[in-house]
């Protein structure tokens, strides 16, 4: 399978550079810091919470904020990881290796996407280990935890697809990073607009990456939300394929 060959090479490339290791280490440190702060807070308020009727459990108090923070961190990290996918290959001329090999544009795009996605899922797995470690001492709500992990995986997948598309638009990796960050941030906060206007508000809310994620973090698994991310990913992958195809036609 060509997709896996390309994905494997992409993954290798990431781990051959210090960038991937560096990103993994820093993200792990920051999320661990957040995790400790959340656990500390929870322990401080635990006696008060114990007296309340419908108090938030440890999963709500610790895991949900961790995933919420992680998504914001990913907003910064994914554009940096995705910027070189196509842009760098175009700049260094290595794209012609793929273009003159018997490989379709779809395979190239899917391979590149999969390679990055696997890296991001490794990062996600390491983050998930932290709330999961609480299971040693307490009881966790695995349903909510799973919804959170799924939500973050979908968000990260969507970021990566948008980042990949931006990377096909330019030869400059940094330009790709900045523009995908801009696009993602806009889609993140788009629901802030039109909050007073009843006509547009639902549209903006539907478009927002954040709103769909928030409902998954609350533990409510909604097909609409999952479908939103799937559609988002497919759209940007198709756009990337089209863009790569068009690259042969013009200059």
């Amino acid at each position: 399978m060509m997709v896996f060959t390309i994905a494997g090479r992409e993954l290798r490339h990431l781990f051959l550079s210090p960038l991937a290791w560096c990103v993994l280490a820093i993200i792990q440190f920051i999320i661990a810091w957040m995790f400790l702060v959340q656990v500390d807070n929870f322990l401080k308020y635990a006696p008060t919470l114990a007296g309340m009727a419908s108090a938030p459990g440890v999963t709500d108090a610790v895991a949900a904020p961790i995933f919420s923070t992680a998504s914001v961190v990913m907003l910064l990290v994914v554009p940096i990881m995705s910027m070189r996918l196509i842009a760098e290959e175009r700049r260094s001329g290595t794209l012609s290796l793929l273009l003159s090999a018997p490989v379709s544009m779809t395979e190239i795009v899917l391979g590149k996407y999969l390679g990055l996605l696997i890296f991001l899922l490794i990062m996600l797995g390491l983050i998930t280990l932290m709330p999961l470690s609480l299971a040693i001492g307490t009881h966790l709500d695995y349903g909510k935890l799973f919804a959170g992990v799924l939500g973050l995986a979908l968000v990260v997948g969507a970021f990566a697809a948008a980042g990949l598309f931006m990377s096909t638009l330019t030869k400059q990796p940094v330009v790709a990073a900045v523009s995908s960050f801009g696009l993602l941030l806009l889609l993140w906060i788009i629901s802030w607009a039109g909050s007073g206007d009843a006509r547009f508000s639902p549209t903006f809310h539907y478009l927002s990456l954040l709103d769909h994620y928030a409902s998954l973090l609350r533990g409510s698994f909604n097909t609409t939300d999952v479908l939103y991310y799937v559609l988002f990913i497919i759209t940007f992958l198709v756009l990337s394929i089209r863009r790569l195809d068009a690259y042969r036609l013009q200059h």
């Binding site: 051959l16 550079s17 273009l99 003159s100 090999a101 018997p102 490989v103 042969r248």
Partner: protein, 322 residues
């Protein structure tokens, strides 16, 4: 059908960049065992043509058949028969030679069991045997070029396309790469672009000269050498020399009047009649002013075709091609 060994067939190829026409009505053919040299000054459209042939660029118009398969209709099948080395070798500097070549072989859909054998063969042919564990980023330019060629031949494609493969190499490396190209030409069809004339003379079996996106010369190397060998003399006299007289002299092949005082005397390379012509002119008292030998080098043909008045050059070639 006698088209069996026709590896590449390009018909009426056009390529525009906006309004600028980079390739204009280009036709070419490549058969098995041939090394075709694309020659042209900078910006003539060589690289564009090669990019189109390798499927990296789409043509604006025209048809390209690789081994009988249309590259636009069935790109995957057509590209499986192509090995392409662009001007800048597409190398991943963070991989070792072995890793890189294995990846290239896998990209070209070689089965897993054959990867290593293919890689070793390509390395051996390109003189990279001891380089397997070195990082490509640490290799010299010459070795990088070899890795680039190894990448192009790893799946033993029917057609190997090399864009200026000897640029930036030292003379010894150039000789080695040329020897490699000649060797490749025995089993594959090779298309080679260059602006180095001796390279074409040593390596290619057929030459096409491109200028401003148009084909201005298309002949075999033997045809080209003949053209260079059929040397001539220019004879200038005070009086009008008689053509018929000169033509009957031994060794003279043909006589062509330039104006009333000048004649061009064609002769065969191995038999220079300058002495006899001079003696004859003196005997007849035409007043010998000048007797200059004319050598046509490849450079001259090249310059004639690419500079001079374009229309004249182009028609001359069309006549010849027809």
């Amino acid at each position: 059908m006698s088209n069996n060994d026709l590896l590449v067939k390009v018909e009426n190829l056009y390529r525009y960049y906006d309004d600028h026409c980079a390739v204009q009505n280009l036709n070419c053919e490549l058969r098995k065992g041939e090394i075709l040299g694309f020659l042209g000054p900078n910006g003539a459209g060589k690289s564009t043509t090669m990019q189109i042939l390798s499927g990296n660029l789409a043509p604006s118009a025209g048809q390209i058949l690789i081994n009988g398969v249309d590259i636009l209709d069935e790109p995957k099948r057509a590209k499986a028969n192509i090995g392409y080395l662009p001007e800048q070798p597409p190398l991943y500097v963070d991989l070792t030679v072995d890793e890189y070549l294995t990846y290239c072989a896998a990209l070209n859909r070689l089965p897993r069991s054959k990867l290593q054998a293919a890689r070793d063969l390509a390395k051996e042919r390109c003189g990279l045997k001891d380089m397997g564990h070195k990082l490509i980023g640490n290799l010299s330019k010459g070795y990088r070029q070899r890795v680039g060629i190894a990448q192009a031949i790893i799946h033993s494609p029917a057609v190997v396309i090399l864009d200026e493969p000897t640029v930036g190499l030292d003379p010894i490396q150039i000789r080695e790469i040329r020897a490699l190209i000649v060797e490749l030409g025995q089993e594959h069809g090779v298309i080679l672009s260059t602006h180095i004339l001796p390279e074409v003379q040593t390596v290619c079996s057929r030459v096409q000269i491109i200028h401003k996106g148009r084909l201005v010369f298309n002949d075999t190397l033997t045809g080209l050498t003949q053209r260079m060998q059929s040397t001539s003399l220019v004879l200038a006299c005070r009086q009008t020399p008689e053509q018929a007289v000169i033509k009957t002299l031994p060794g003279v092949h043909d006589v062509q009047p330039l104006d009333s005082h000048h004649l061009r005397v064609h002769f065969n390379a191995d038999n220079n009649p300058a002495e006899i012509v001079a003696a004859e002119v003196l005997k007849r008292g035409w007043g010998l002013l000048e007797l200059t030998p004319e050598h046509k080098s490849l450079e001259q043909i090249f310059v004639d075709l690419t500079t001079a008045d374009e229309t004249g050059g182009a028609t001359a070639v069309q006549e010849r091609a027809a």
